[in-house]
């Protein structure tokens, strides 16, 4: 089964949030259903970070905050050579970190072409 990164939809009021909280941000509900984060969004801001933590062999990471068309915002890695704020991007799930031999999957964004 393909890996997903899930947002949480409140079962009482329908609010979608990411990341999940113990209480719904809108109605304090406590039951949620997972909703895969997918599709397109708009790049709000980004950085090319050379201040990396452990676990990375490369020189830099490109990171951004994306407003998803799904109605939530997310932080993710950008697989984009020349990012521009306001550009349209598409979410994929892939390996974002490897800690102690274990792959961690997360959101990676690429430009929407055409």
């Amino acid at each position: 089964m393909a890996k997903t990164v899930d947002a949480a939809r409140c079962k009482s009021c329908g609010k979608l949030m990411y990341p999940i909280h113990f209480y719904c941000l809108a109605c304090k509900g406590r039951e949620f259903e997972p909703v895969p984060i997918e599709g397109d969004g708009t790049l709000l801001t980004w950085t090319r970070s050379y201040a990396l933590p452990l676990d990375y062999a490369q020189l830099f990471l490109t990171l951004g905050i994306i407003q998803m068309d799904q109605g939530i915002r997310v932080t993710g890695q950008l697989d984009i050579a020349d990012p521009k704020t306001g550009m349209r991007v598409r979410a994929h799930v892939g390996k974002v970190r490897e800690t102690m031999g274990k792959d961690i999957h997360g959101l990676i964004f690429q430009p929407v072409r055409g």
Partner: protein, 393 residues
């Protein structure tokens, strides 16, 4: 509630420590005790601020260890870990202990020794304050969060790289004459942005932020002694009153904020501190802001109410925030030059303000400063403590 006074202060040299974490904390505490001349009065409460000793120094239960090294047992002691706001949180906790009547003489000591590990480990350690699943796993670090914040902020308010460099130039000028500061060198606009060697001297760390937009990784310890204002006359130095303390929190993942260029926790914490003190930003003579990144000094100066939103960089440009200006910001050099031993920083800001309000700041004294203000910024703005100090009781 009783009024609370700061009756003693102490601080070590910041930079790369010559001593162990505990030895630094003992030295700072000893300085504060000596400064106040407590005689045979008994310290009856101890609060220790630290963030990373468990990871970086293989030390847990640090308050107990400090009590042991200083032979202060059986005095009650505990550590306060509140990320980079640990320092001001510990001062606040000490304030509550004295104000409530539970304690009469409290020692608050902050200490951090980050350079025991390499830079990669130190950056990793600080990144643990980001959201583990929504930020940390992506390789997000504090410089990365600050870089994304800066890009948006600069775009919205017309702040340029020159403005960011002006914060660095100002705070390095200030820190140059502070003998306790970590970095004692002056920098110029030419050297930071326009010279031939900029790519080597001032490379990007998390663009648009460059090396000189980021604070150094520092070791250091600071301490304050708190007593009821009614007893302040028993001690050697002119007392400084804690007039107001405000604190506020916010969501952990930065992307969840309705407007990612706002720092509501800074605004609320400052408003609460001013309200408690019965003062306004216009009453403040000197402040120490949390310039872990140059952009933060500009944003905080606005959120705290010193300048309208989007005007902070203009006040900076006019020289108003420089020593000698209308509102000197971080005459000690700030985190940028004095250094940022993370869990200690909030305590050291209070120490610096006390020196200012006593008139003991020497070459970086703000003339006849009567009221001071500090912001200690935790997480990326998700836990902020603001403190207002007033000369005399």
């Amino acid at each position: 509630m009783r009024d609370v006074a700061i009756v003693g202060v102490g601080t070590t040299q910041f930079g790369r420590a010559q001593w162990s974490l505990l030895k630094m904390m003992c030295e700072a505490s000893h300085d504060a005790i000596t400064d106040a001349r407590i005689g045979d009065r008994e310290i009856d409460g101890i609060f220790v601020a630290n963030m990373g000793a468990g990871r970086n120094n293989k030390t847990l239960g640090i308050a107990s260890a400090l009590v042991d090294r200083m032979n202060l047992y059986p005095t009650p002691a505990e550590a306060i870990e509140n990320g980079p706001a640990s320092g001001a949180s510990a001062v606040k906790t000490g304030y509550m202990a004295v104000a409530s009547g539970m304690c009469d003489l409290v020692l608050v000591c902050g200490g951090e020794r980050m350079r025991e590990v390499n830079n990669l480990e130190a950056t990793e350690c600080v990144s643990y304050i980001s959201h583990r699943y929504a930020e940390y796993v992506y390789g997000v670090t504090l410089p990365a969060l600050a870089g994304m914040f800066a890009r948006l902020y600069m775009q919205k308010y017309g702040v340029t790289q020159e403005h960011l460099a002006m914060v660095a130039i100002k705070n390095h000028d200030h820190g140059f004459v502070n003998r306790k500061a970590h970095i004692r060198e002056r920098v110029t606009m030419e050297g930071l942005l326009h010279g031939p060697d900029v790519a080597n001297n001032n490379p990007y760390v998390a663009d648009p932020l460059r090396f000189y937009d980021c604070c150094p990784v520092s070791d250091g310890a600071s301490a304050v002694l708190l007593a009821p204002a009614s007893m302040a006359g028993d001690f050697a130095k002119r007392p400084v009153r804690i007039a107001g303390v405000g604190q506020a929190t916010d969501c952990q993942a930065v992307h969840e904020r309705p407007d990612p260029t706002e720092l509501p926790a800074v605004r609320i914490a400052a408003q609460k501190a001013f309200q408690m003190a019965g003062l306004t930003p216009a009453d403040i003579d000197v402040c120490e802001l949390h310039d872990a990144f140059t952009i933060l000094e500009i944003a905080e100066s606005e959120e705290c109410g010193f300048f309208p939103k989007g005007e902070g960089h203009k006040a900076l440009e006019r020289g108003e925030t420089r020593l000698g200006g209308k509102l000197p910001i971080s005459p000690s050099g700030g985190l940028k030059a004095r250094g940022h031993p993370v869990g200690n920083t909030g305590v050291s800001q209070i120490v610096e303000l006390v020196l200012q309000l006593r008139g003991e700041a020497g070459p970086y004294q703000v003339p006849s400063a009567k009221r001071g203000f500090a912001v200690n910024f935790g997480g990326f703005g998700n836990n902020v403590v603001a403190t207002v100090l007033s000369e005399g009781v």
